[in-house]
């Protein structure tokens, strides 16, 4: 229980997109990253990495574990030649929340209250995926925390109207394209990538009458499945570049770790459009499109941050639901904290009683040795007295501990008790 629960990381409020995309971890990178942090002292960990945040949820993580997180993130930043504080550069972009604040933070994240688009539902799936990807390293406390976080997310969306209306990066992409082309019916779109986000955004465009002409992906089978559903043709990424000369909209959402739509690949092709506008929606993190392409006069390039800004404006009405959602988060934080506080109470009370009983038995034995003239009956009475005295002494602390645990204040008392009676882990046992 030492060290409590912590969240350490960066999000869309604290770090710009170019930093967030460097900190983003693919699913295959999660176990390795958590292993490093746990080797530095964390007792359990979950890594939540989305386009808006990279957060490590840790249990029992003391300062070395937190330093390990910052170091791990800082390694992903371009070298600046600075020495000394290994994680300092990453720390500038991040935050740490501890204990109850950490619990509340995850609940707010899961409820969509910490999202760029208030109430967006995609985050709940991402919380679930993060939990599942970190299952082996999470430990019982984080299992419970993430399980309840998903419950909080569902509760907030069911009991409030925070998730009502369409407000996603994909629908914002449609709105932005609409501001360029007006009526989208009959416009053509090229889709790069075949993941869930690409499919969702392509469906949004298709619903507006946009003709999905091509779906390009590294894996041809996946591209073909989406292309068949939306009426386009599946091609490889290399085959897609010439189509930048004719398409009206290019929707990019690959999982490539670097920009795939580069000036070298499409600069000349776009130049041949003779001023015809091209709307590029880059939904990928890390970004798929080289920002230099936006310098072409007829190119309108929007990344995830831009689209989320547009979507956020469309969700102003959702803000009215924030107080109700926050109340649910607070309520659930209390429940979790009560559970967490109570976790250590029973074993600690048991341990405390055992210690006190050992002291009592030792002192009783010593006293009885000096009172050898006592009859067996009297010796039994003295022993009974010592037992009753111990029970009287421990009664009030036991009641107070249990009550504090039920009220969610157990953690602090347990910590104090461990220190007072030398029961710290690794201390005198």
């Amino acid at each position: 229980m030492g060290g409590g629960i912590k969240v350490v990381g960066v999000n869309h409020r604290t770090a710009p997109l170019d930093v967030r995309e460097r900190f983003a971890h693919g699913a295959h990178e999660v176990p390795g990253a958590l292993a490093r942090v746990m080797a530095a002292g964390a007792g359990g960990g979950v890594l939540l990495s989305t386009c808006n945040r990279t957060e490590f949820y840790l249990v029992s993580g003391d300062e070395p574990a937190l330093d390990a997180v910052w170091t791990l993130l800082a390694e992903r930043l371009p070298a600046t030649g600075r020495t000394g504080d290994a994680g300092g550069e990453a720390r500038e972009y991040g935050y740490i929340a501890r204990d109850r604040d950490a619990v509340r933070h995850l609940y707010r994240v899961s409820a969509g209250l910490d999202s760029m688009i208030i109430g967006e539902s995609q985050i709940q799936g991402q919380v679930r995926e993060a939990w599942e990807a970190s299952r082996a390293q999470a430990g019982p406390v984080l299992h419970r925390l993430f399980q309840t976080a998903l419950h909080v997310g569902s509760r907030v969306r069911t009991e409030t109207a925070i998730g009502r209306g369409t407000a996603s990066a994909a629908s914002a992409g449609v709105a932005v394209a609409g501001k360029i082309f007006g009526d989208l019916a009959g416009k053509s779109a090229l889709i790069l990538g075949a993941g869930d986000m690409a499919e969702l955004a392509a469906t949004c465009l298709s619903d507006e009458g946009v003709q999905i002409t091509l779906v390009a992906n590294r894996t041809h089978e996946r591209a073909r499945a989406i292309a068949e559903r939306l009426g386009g043709t599946a091609v490889t990424l290399e085959e897609a570049w010439p189509y930048f000369a004719t398409t009206d909209i290019a929707l990019c959402s690959t999982s490539a770790p670097h920009a795939v739509v580069t000036w070298e690949r499409v600069g000349a092709v776009i130049g041949a459009r003779h001023g015809k506008p091209l709307c590029i929606l880059d939904l990928a993190v890390p970004r798929d499109v080289d920002p230099a392409i936006a310098q072409l006069e007829n190119v309108f390039l929007y990344d995830v941050d831009d689209l989320q800004t547009v979507a956020a404006q469309a969700t102003v009405r959702r803000r009215d639901e924030i107080p109700a959602a926050e109340r649910i988060v607070e309520e659930e934080t209390d429940l979790f904290w009560a559970w967490y506080g109570g976790l250590g109470v029973v074993p600690l009370i048991k341990e405390l009683r055992q210690r006190m009983d050992d002291v009592r038995a030792l002192e009783l034995e010593r006293a009885l040795r000096q009172l050898g003239h006592l009859s067996a009956e009297d010796r039994a009475r003295v022993e009974q007295f010592s037992q009753a005295l111990l029970n009287k002494f421990l009664h009030q602390p036991t009641i107070a501990l249990k009550a504090a645990a039920e009220e969610g204040r157990g953690y602090g008392l347990l910590d104090a008790l461990r220190r007072l009676f030398g029961m710290e882990p690794g201390g005198k046992e």
Binding site: V176, G178, K179, I180, F181, G182, G275, P277, A294, E297, N298, F300, Y302, D306, T309, V310, Q313
Partner: protein, 264 residues
């Protein structure tokens, strides 16, 4: 009566201008019905005023130009399903009506010619042609503002309230293509009328110079759009340059001509 009607129209246009500019000054947008009703009411009063007006001289010409502009604003806003055109058109129309009142609405010494149907047609078509040119300018200005916001990835009031780029480009093209024949006919009627009834109306050299200059500029703007297939930002810049040139030449000629009440 004419002056009173113009003052009422001015008040209604002024109110419409305030409502059109309100969202850009941080105030809440008013219901769309109101943003249409006010210029509609103003235009209705204005039509009554113009029907009693002798269409000769600066004041009546500016008044007719303002009415054409308001009618085109209403038509284009219906087409665009938005009120962005009024952002420019409403203050421009208000200013034109104000200038018309200040210039004087009474006919001058040449009032007799105003009864000639060819002359009335010349004034009406010229005013329509100029109003369409102004509309092309407004569409181009809106286009450039929206273009700048979209390129800069700013999603504020301009992004939300201005129409899509393609719609503005279409409006600019329509205004130029429709404005050119209207103005051509207006110029031809003026030349024909001048040749036939030269004795009744004194056609100043400045009027002919400005009329032909305007026709050439509008012709160039139409030519680059239709023949050279200019579109988007380049076409918008051409429209703005053309309209600005016409306006500047008019002001320059006006300042050098005697008689404040004459159109030129």
């Amino acid at each position: 009566m004419i002056l009173t009607l113009h003052l009422v129209a001015l008040a209604l246009y002024g109110l419409a201008t305030a409502l059109a500019l309100a969202p850009f000054m941080g105030f809440r947008s008013v219901p769309r019905a109101l943003t249409i009703a006010l210029p509609c009411a103003g235009a209705a009063v204005h039509v009554v005023a113009i029907s009693q007006l002798t269409p000769i001289g600066l004041g009546p010409a500016l008044s007719m130009l303002a009415l054409c502009l308001v009618l085109l604003q209403l038509a284009s806003e219906r087409l665009l399903r938005g009120s962005a055109v009024s952002f420019f058109a409403a203050p421009l129309a208000t200013a034109l009506v104000g200038l018309a009142i200040l210039s004087g609405l009474a006919p001058g010494a040449e009032a007799a010619v105003a009864r000639n149907v060819w002359f009335v047609l010349h004034v009406a078509l010229s005013a329509l042609g100029l109003a369409l040119m102004a509309l092309a300018f407004i569409a181009a200005a809106l286009y450039l503002l929206q273009f700048r916001e979209l390129k800069a990835r700013r999603f504020g009031q301009v992004f939300q309230l201005f129409p899509p780029l393609e719609k503005l480009d279409q409006l600019n093209r329509f205004a130029l293509v429709a404005g050119f024949p209207a103005l051509t006919l207006g110029v031809v009627l003026a030349l024909g009328y001048g040749a036939q009834f030269a004795g009744d109306l004194h056609a100043a050299k400045a009027q002919i110079v400005w009329g032909i200059f305007t026709w050439v500029v509008l012709g160039w703007a139409v030519w680059v759009r239709v023949v050279r297939h200019w579109a988007g930002r380049r076409a918008a810049l051409a429209s703005i340059a053309g309209f600005s040139a016409v306006l500047l030449v008019y002001v320059a000629l006006k300042l050098t001509q005697p008689g404040a009440e004459r159109f030129l």
